[in-house]
């Protein structure tokens, strides 16, 4: 071997090709978006370059003879508790490039506790009956938006009561779950239409993300939350009136403090028209909204959007979970938001600097518990719904989030996993081999909306069934009875401070 730069030697994966099984059919060559597999003309066989493998497992999944095995390359680094391999690799890479290291997907960092895993749910025994959701009705229906503190009635001429209190608009969801914001551009049209169709079939909502909404998807408006972010991409009057809700994106859990960044390579004609940006130009959202420098400014924007949509839809404000999140959320509710969405630090992204993704923000569980408690303490909890996002992995996480005080949850990474994502984290390259985070025509069609929509529907149905089972076990027949019901949670192995923040008792108490 001739001289190899150090980066080529310390790659992450190695491709193991079973010589007895490989028939040189080139399926892997065609599937690999990173050209790790290639046809060697002189040897007349398929060869591979381990250094190019990103560990997406696409070739492994499609190899018709199961000849491929993608493995983590055994680390060649000398053990060092301080200098973990990722830091060494970062330095090698940055010494080569001099740039900020981009990453995709949620933070894989393992030393920040996942509090979902440290909380356990209750179940009924003897003193109260559990409920069988297969035999008895179970209510998962959820309404997002401000609720009145009290209801007033007047009497009509014939003596029947009539509601006097003016109700504010709410979003009706059949499940306490929504597909969170993934912009058109960061993921392609095939997945946007799949999410729109799935949300419509399920009676839930999906969020457009900050890239506008393609005209052909306006028909799914009843199940769409349209997002306004700092770049204002694709925002116009029709867009604001296209959905069932409007969301102001202030921050994102994966990259608090910075705006979205869509590389020009991902801006094709459809994305360009929808975003209202030139073809092939980078769509970079400013870090702040330049018209929001205070809670008063936020109040103005919320009401500007309410005016623009004639007060027909609730307005949500999405923030990243950061320090003092409870005070910020209180300000947001007082500024007039009907929904507060909080995105924890484990939330996914299409592109974020690794340092920010892995070091900025706080876990959603702590933020959620604090926001719910603060809004209750201030007597304004009913003025807004809370949506928790960022690292919801399963139905138990949903149940725990709701018990901690969320009205509903957003999930996106789980939705992407449902359609084939393997968390390779290379979304920012625009070459997603699974056809998700790419607008390359050849790759994007790997997502057939018929297949994707079905999988998304199946996932939410499955989670819905599991949530019903867990609710039933706790003796509850409605998700409403679980909201903020922290008595149904117990902590294992948490410190007094953590339990105090979460507002839960230790298991055994």
């Amino acid at each position: 071997m001739l001289f190899q730069p150090i980066n080529r030697n310390y790659h992450e994966f190695s491709i193991d090709r079973d010589k007895d099984k490989c028939i040189n059919c080139k399926v892997c060559v065609r599937q690999c978006a990173y050209e790790a597999h290639y046809w060697d003309e002189s040897r007349q066989k398929v060869m591979h370059d381990n250094a190019k493998c990103v560990g997406c497992h696409r070739c492994e999944a499609l190899c018709p003879t199961s000849a491929l095995l993608i493995q983590k390359k055994k680390s060649d680094f000398r053990d060092n508790a301080l200098w973990k391999p990722e830091f060494i690799k970062y330095i090698y890479k940055q010494a080569d490039t001099g740039g900020v290291l981009l990453t995709g997907m949620g933070s894989p960092v393992g030393n920040i506790p996942v509090y979902w895993d440290k909380m356990l749910l209750d179940a009924s025994q003897v003193t109260n009956p559990s409920i069988d959701p297969l035999r008895e009705p179970m209510e998962l229906k959820t309404f997002l938006g401000a609720k009145p503190d009290k209801l007033e009635f007047t009497k009509t001429k014939d003596g029947s009561p009539k509601l006097k209190t003016r109700l504010t608009p709410n979003i009706e969801l059949n499940y306490p779950m929504m597909f969170s914001a993934m912009s058109f551009g960061s993921i392609n049209f095939n997945l946007h239409i799949a999410m729109a169709r799935a949300a419509t079939e399920l009676g839930i909502c999906y969020n457009t993300g900050e890239g506008g909404l393609h005209k052909s998807l306006y028909q799914y408006g009843k199940n769409t939350i349209v997002q306004v972010a700092s770049g204002r991409f694709g925002v116009h009057r029709d867009f604001l009136n296209a959905g069932a809700g409007i969301e102001i994106k202030v921050g994102q859990g994966a990259k608090p403090g910075i705006g979205g960044h869509l590389p020009g390579e991902k801006i094709n004609e459809m994305v360009s028209v929808t975003r209202m940006v030139p073809l092939g130009s980078d769509a970079i959202s400013p870090a702040p909204h330049h018209d929001i420098y205070s809670i008063e400014d936020l109040h103005q924007l919320i009401y500007a959007l309410k005016e623009a949509s004639e007060y027909r839809v609730p307005v949500s404000v999405k923030i990243a979970a950061v320090h003092n999140v409870a005070a910020i959320a209180s300000g947001i509710v007082r500024a007039g938001a009907d929904i507060v969405a909080i995105d924890g630090m484990r939330g996914g992204t299409g592109a974020a600097p690794g340092m920010i993704r892995d070091n900025v923000g706080i876990p959603i569980e702590l933020a959620l518990a604090q926001v719910d408690q603060r809004l209750r303490d201030e007597g304004i909890r009913s003025r807004a719904s809370i949506v928790a996002a960022g690292g919801i992995r399963c139905s138990a996480d949903v149940v725990k989030a709701i018990a901690l005080g969320a009205d509903a949850v957003y999930f996106a990474t789980a939705a992407l996993l449902a359609v084939g994502c393997t968390l390779c984290g290379k979304c920012y390259t625009g070459k997603c081999p699974w056809g998700i985070a790419t607008n390359d025509a050849k790759l994007a069609k790997r997502q057939n909306p018929d297949v994707a929509a079905k999988k998304l529907v199946n996932l939410v149905h499955a989670w819905g069934h599991e949530i019903e089972e867990m609710l039933g076990g706790m003796g509850l027949n409605s998700i409403e009875s679980l909201r903020g019901n922290r008595d149904k949670l117990r902590a294992v192995g948490l410190s007094d401070t953590e339990m105090d923040i979460l507002g839960v008792k230790h298991a055994g108490r």
Binding site: R30, P64, T65, A441, K445, N448, V451
Partner: protein
Amino acid sequence: MKRVYPDKEYCIGCHICELACLTAHSKSKDLILAYTVERTSDGLSPCKHVHERGPTCVALSCRHCDEPACVAACISGALQKDPESGRTTYDREKCVGCWSCLMACPFGAIARHPLENKIVKCDLCFDRPGGPACVAACPNLALKQEER
């Protein structure tokens, strides 16, 4: 009749349909043997071919036309329209290898056998319990067997 329809919007050009076809029409019914042994020894080749141009690809095979040009052109009576199933059938014994059908087919869906004076053409896997092997193998539902 139920035909196999390709969907160019979602054909990902993986060529797995070709491999499935090859296996289904092999003696061994084993992909590895079919591809590595029978392909060279017996000239086994798929009835289906993926055509690509730029990002567009589509898997084409015999469309079992209602009025097949190949049947009209066949000089030996090897190609027939089966009135019952609607399939355009091929009798290998009768075929004399004149290639008239190849020229007549407007879709280029008939291929020459690599070794013999015979043709290779889709038979809709009529004797396969699960229906056409290509449809079953397509990873992106880009091949559908349906009535249209």
